[in-house]
């Protein structure tokens, strides 16, 4: 009897591994194998046709010590992340808070605000290049209506990154839905209790809604930080096919890495870059995880 049970369990174990086998194979072939290759390659002068000759920490040393463009690209990326992440988070929370007020036409608004989030790719980038045309675009036309003399956007090194952030803000609808779903899950009894205590709407929002959605804020911040550091497609198209824009103001980290790897075929160098980025993103994620218990509020069982 006992023996039989064991074989059933073993059978289940085999089945389990058969079912997750595609992932395991993919993980070794497309993720962990490549990770090891790129870690090893980052200490070589590999250029895809050559042998891999060990060069020690030369790639890392020249990236950190000498390469001005590396610093520019890192700065550009940090600038972009530092503004786009908080702005899109606040924007998404703001819109979902409005939608969470029992307004008429909720479904209609929800659909509209979400729509831009599903649109991406070259069509959208071209659209924003046209919208941001200084003389004939829509953005400066609208700004003109309220008396603002709009900047030169993608032609002015100081305004190229704000241009991309503006485009990102257009599509906050994706995380807006996350927040809305989470806000609608907050127990009504909490608000009723606050009501009885005479708490104002604002105090209810700050002391009930915000704490209850902190897990989603945390998730959104972590994923958009990781995503923000990887900005590439937008910059590639909007800076004129990878050239980096005026005064290299759109030369983001991944764009520079792309040019090193696939334009100059300096792959060892590019792989060293990719590991520096990996370490930066990893450290930021760990910091986020460490800080989380201080402000993220996990409710055991509400609803």
């Amino acid at each position: 009897m006992r023996k039989r049970k064991l074989t059933i369990r073993q059978k289940e174990g085999i089945y389990g591994y058969i079912f997750i086998m595609p992932f395991i194979v993919g993980f070794f072939a497309f993720t962990s194998g490549p990770l090891l290759f790129s870690l090893a390659g980052s200490f070589t002068d590999y250029n895809i046709t050559s042998r891999m000759d060990f060069v020690g920490v030369e790639n890392y040393a020249s990236l950190i010590g000498e390469d001005g463009l590396f610093r520019t690209s890192l700065w550009n990326t940090i600038y972009y992340v530092a503004f786009s992440v908080p702005l899109t988070t606040l924007g998404a929370i703001f819109i979902s808070a409005l939608l969470n007020q029992d307004v008429p036409g909720l479904r209609f608004f929800r659909t509209l605000y979400y729509l831009p989030a599903v649109l991406s790719g070259v069509g959208v980038y071209l659209l924003w290049m046209q919208l941001l045309e200084p003389g004939t675009g829509m953005v400066n036309l609208l700004l003109g209506w309220v008396g603002i003399d709009g900047p030169n956007w993608l032609f002015d090194p100081d305004w190229t990154k704000p241009s991309l952030i503006l485009m990102k803000l257009w599509s906050v609808g994706g995380s807006m839905l996350l927040y809305l779903a989470s806000m609608q899950g907050v127990s009504k009894s909490l608000y009723e209790a606050a009501e009885i205590d005479g708490a104002s709407r604002w105090r209810q929002f700050v002391h009930i809604t915000i704490p209850m959605i902190t897990p989603v804020i945390f998730f959104d911040v972590v994923t958009s930080l990781i995503g923000g550091f990887q900005i590439f497609q937008e910059a590639y198209i909007m800076s004129g096919n990878g050239e980096g824009g005026p005064a290299n103001s759109l030369l983001f980290y991944n764009l520079y890495m792309w040019n090193q790897a696939f334009e100059n075929f300096d792959m060892g160098y590019a792989m060293a870059m990719s590991w520096i980025l990996f370490v930066i993103v990893f450290i930021l994620t760990v910091i986020n995880l460490k800080l989380a218990p201080r402000w993220v509020h996990y409710e055991g069982e509400d609803k």
């Binding site: 997750i20 490549p34 290759f37 307004v103 070259v122 071209l126 046209q130 696939f262 993103v281 994620t285």
Partner: protein
Amino acid sequence: MDKPEEKTAYLDEPEKLQTISKTGFFEHRGNRNNMWRLFNFVLLAAGSLLILSPLWWMFATSLKTMAEVMSYPPSFFPKSWEWGNYIRTWQVAPFTTYTINTLTITTLVVIGSVLANSFIAYGFAKIPFRGKNVWFAIVLSTMMIPGFVTLIPQYVLFSKLGWVNTYYPLIVPHFFGSAFYIFLLRQFYMTIPTELIEAAKIEGASHFYIWWKIGLPLTKPALATVAIFSFNGAWNDFLGPLLYLNDENLYTLQLGLAVFKGQLDTQWNYLMAGSLLVLLPVILLFFFFQKYFIQGINLQSGGK
């Protein structure tokens, strides 16, 4: 084996997930809140005009003459509606080829994503085996790895395999699952009671049979979400085709559009017509299958 009543009962769960309740928490306060609701409504309406205006602008620009595109100040409504811009756009670049290529890739990517992720998720959700938690942690941790770290070695791998300038690098990896979809489908499988699978096993069904005959049909709504998301991803992918495709006959719509921009530079009427044509399938898909988009988001937030 087939238990129709039970099936519908389980299908109810995801339906509940995707319906966002219309009841706000202030409704019981009565009329004095009407002003507040009106204020919110006006803000939201103004906001939706801002959200929609870029799309209208794209449509309007696509119908303008080049002279009107360049005229100052620009106008929200085209003076003459040049529908011929669309025909000319389609003729200037081989958009028919691009469309066929894109559809080929997206179809195979969708099939691969749906089958592989469902298969893997079933394993994680419904079969007990040793090391499951470790492997699931690995699945989740792959979400944290910046794509560019593996991009270069993957390119080396695929070029050694002779796959550059073919569709294989754009399709094959999708047949091995990806963390986000595995997570999403596992969440969904968790809502299916294990008793149903136990019952099938007692009747002698293998896990393959159960996955194919019970798992797939019961998770249809979640599979629709995966299908739509992966369609969207493949349709909008620019980086992959840019890296792997050199032959213009193999170009996708995204790549074609970028080349088109290079050729036309600032002929915005044609560029906007082309962009709109490329975005249109996604817009239509969104309006018809909206609930699956929203369900995907909700499944995501439910697990966090």
